[in-house]
């Protein structure tokens, strides 16, 4: 398990997840977002 978390692929997956969360936030902040 620890070895899996140490994989660069785990970093990429975490990064993409973080991006999705922040993208949802950006949609709320931009007046015309999501249109």
């Amino acid at each position: 398990m620890k070895q899996r978390l140490n994989s660069p692929w785990a970093a990429l997956v975490l990064g993409i997840g973080l991006t999705a969360a922040l993208y949802a936030l950006a949609l709320r902040l931009v007046p015309h977002g999501g249109g």
């Binding site: 660069p8 970093a11 990429l12 975490l14 990064g15 993409i16 973080l18 991006t19 922040l22 993208y23 936030l25 950006a26 949609l27 902040l29 931009v30 007046p31 977002g33 999501g34 249109g35």
Partner: protein
């Protein structure tokens, strides 16, 4: 030709690519090389001859990228708006690039803070954190302002 905006963007990108490139080298190559070296008890040669120079390169490229990025934000001001302020305050159409600017700022703090240590193992752990942060960073840098429409922002 808008020379200041062009030069800021050009050299911001150069420094940012150097910063992230060194980060990926640190996280993907150096840390693995160090693990392999640890099995023969020879991490000292890496830490003494590579880690210090790596730290210098990371900090130099990080501060140049951040400062030029801040300058670049001011060049995207439109009448009635200050791009730098609106981005960092996450206002309106500047909010997405502002999210990118805040992630970059957090990464800069990590580069100059917890990564700047003689405890190489700890620095490498923080380098991994910055690698994770670089994924949303690049998303918001690429799409946060000039290409918002591509991602529906």
């Amino acid at each position: 030709m808008d020379w200041p905006a062009a030069l800021l963007r050009w050299f911001h990108e150069l420094a940012a690519i150097m910063w992230l490139g060194l980060h990926y080298y640190t996280d993907l190559i150096y840390s693995r090389a160090r693990m392999a070296a640890a099995s023969t008890g020879s991490t000292a040669i890496l830490d003494n001859f590579v880690a210090t120079r790596l730290g210098h390169g990371l900090r130099f490229s990080a501060i140049v990228a951040w400062l030029l990025g801040c300058g670049l934000l001011s060049t995207i001001s439109i009448p009635g708006h200050n791009g730098f302020l609106d981005a960092f305050l996450l206002r309106g159409m500047y909010a997405p690039i502002g999210i990118g600017a805040w992630i970059g700022t957090l990464m800069l703090v990590i580069t100059f803070g917890p990564m700047r240590t003689t405890n190489v193992a700890s620095a490498l752990m923080w380098a991994r954190v910055n690698t994770i942060l670089s994924v949303p960073l690049l998303f918001f840098m690429a799409f946060g302002y000039s290409h918002q429409g591509i991602v529906g922002l």
